[in-house]
Subunit: 338 residues, 2 copies
Amino acid sequence: MVTIGDVAKAAGVSRSTASYALSGKRSISDAVRLRVNEAVKTLQYTPNAGARSLATSQTKVIGLLAQFLDDEFAPAMLQYILGVSNTARELGYDILLVTDADGTSALRRISDSRMIDGIVLLNVAENDPRLDHLRAAQQPGALVGLPKDCDGLDVFDLDFEEAGRTMVDHLHRLGHRELILISQPQHVIDRGGAYVWRLQNAALAAAEARNITLHTVFAPSSQPAVGDALNELLDAHPTATGLLINNEAAAAALPSVLHERGLSTPKDLSVLGRYSDEFARTFSLPFSSIESAPDRLGSMAVRQLVRRIEGEIGPEEPNVVRFVTPDLIDRGSTAPPR
Amino acid sequence: MVTIGDVAKAAGVSRSTASYALSGKRSISDAVRLRVNEAVKTLQYTPNAGARSLATSQTKVIGLLAQFLDDEFAPAMLQYILGVSNTARELGYDILLVTDADGTSALRRISDSRMIDGIVLLNVAENDPRLDHLRAAQQPGALVGLPKDCDGLDVFDLDFEEAGRTMVDHLHRLGHRELILISQPQHVIDRGGAYVWRLQNAALAAAEARNITLHTVFAPSSQPAVGDALNELLDAHPTATGLLINNEAAAAALPSVLHERGLSTPKDLSVLGRYSDEFARTFSLPFSSIESAPDRLGSMAVRQLVRRIEGEIGPEEPNVVRFVTPDLIDRGSTAPPR
DNA sequence: CTGAAAGCGCTTACAG
DNA sequence: CTGAAAGCGCTTACAG
């Protein structure tokens, strides 16, 4: 393989001069810079990443820990991954994608071996076992998802409380007085998916404050089952006029359920979801929704992480916990109840 | 950080002995091995990946080039990625996920800088511009998807010809005499998505051989548009009794289209798709289908790649081009025409 | 503005 | 069975 030594020889300079000419870390005569650049081009020189990382303790790689859990809807995950990946590339970093079932040991592996400069955690749970190791790691970490203890970590998440309030308020303003909130399965809460109850509790509080009825229910996240659950739900609350959905699988299943029941939105029922616009397009969902902004959250996490990696923010500087304010995207599925 | 030097010191041996004790590449007295292992444990030693790769020219990382094209249905891609990632981990490799729009330069970047030991290409086109660089690369490559020229590359793909024949034969045997085949958009073919016409041509040939009518059409891969296309199609061919679908977005949109038209399968129409079982579950698709086996294809590609990387197959050994025989998964959406 | 040299943390012939 | 040393390909103080 062609090394910087070959470049140096071809340019008639020392290896250090060749290196500096490429990095620009000290002034170089135009003549030399020109010859070095030419040598690089003709020899097709590319620095060896392993050698560089050994010398600089920098890999220019970010570890991305994504878990594909049974109780979660895989297509919704993809948006976060793409948001992280695209922003990382923009900032000059590559992505080491880790999908191990055992996230903790995977984290340790890539961190301790210095394969990466920083770590993004997706799918963060209330008491995420990965966090202890992340805090102990040499590399900075950024989370998408809010754990109980954010100490020492930069955290980005949708403001699910605000999302819950907005959903209730929006339908309340339109005149609705009895609503149903469909959340992720109980199972998601059990393993620490705090966003489920963060949204739900805020929605319940808002409903109480406005003195309206809010039925809450946990629905499955797998497709055949969730359709049945939706039907049961509509049977159980025939007087409810609005449906709030914090469950991607339920949102995806709803169009055919409504169709089967001969219901149309917003005439018979107002519907308001919580998912990304990309998700809505993929599944052709005609419901207004709270934008969950996965690409933006992934991007924010990476930007902050890179600032830490590159020392723009010192390790002593306090961690940030940033909530994205939920936007409501109107697709015309809400209206006053009839 | 703790190095192998620290381990050696703690165990009272030389660095080379410590290294050999860990790699097992030469015999070591039990006493020494014990002390070394103990030192590793107490010091929490993990080898530095960059240093190791510099010394061994091995990174234990596989590059995964995935393109997310507008004309393709993103959720269908995820299965390939997961298949590759999980198998790689099983074999001791990590995944560098590259989603750059410019796949060619991304390939060059990770290859020339020796960040990876081998490369998996997803979404391979008929004349894929990435292939020239892959052939010139130092690292072996494996493809998921069949290009025109497979020379020097290991290739894995579904047998789309057989898939096309099977689809036609299956409905022919049931007594159907007029079918419609819905393919990906023309656009996919234009940029080299050979699988579209591989399936279609084989289906046409099979239809001709059996003397039945097969209407073919390219439908959009985006959701609102594809629904309209399906409706037009059913309007245009009212006497057709069977629908073959080689277009994930069309398959996802079909249930509601059928519902709107008051059609049920297989009573009014027999439907046979081509997508993965995982995809069917995610979208709750009730149609029988040809399994596209993305996880299996991804896994096969990685296994072959690792065999090349680890020298079990020499570079002079001929490349393989392997087709997965399509299985038909019966979900009860086909029956004799009425 | 440039060069010779040390060092990053490993592995692996070479010697014994 | 074990050790001293060279080398992988970079970067970066240290000297001039």
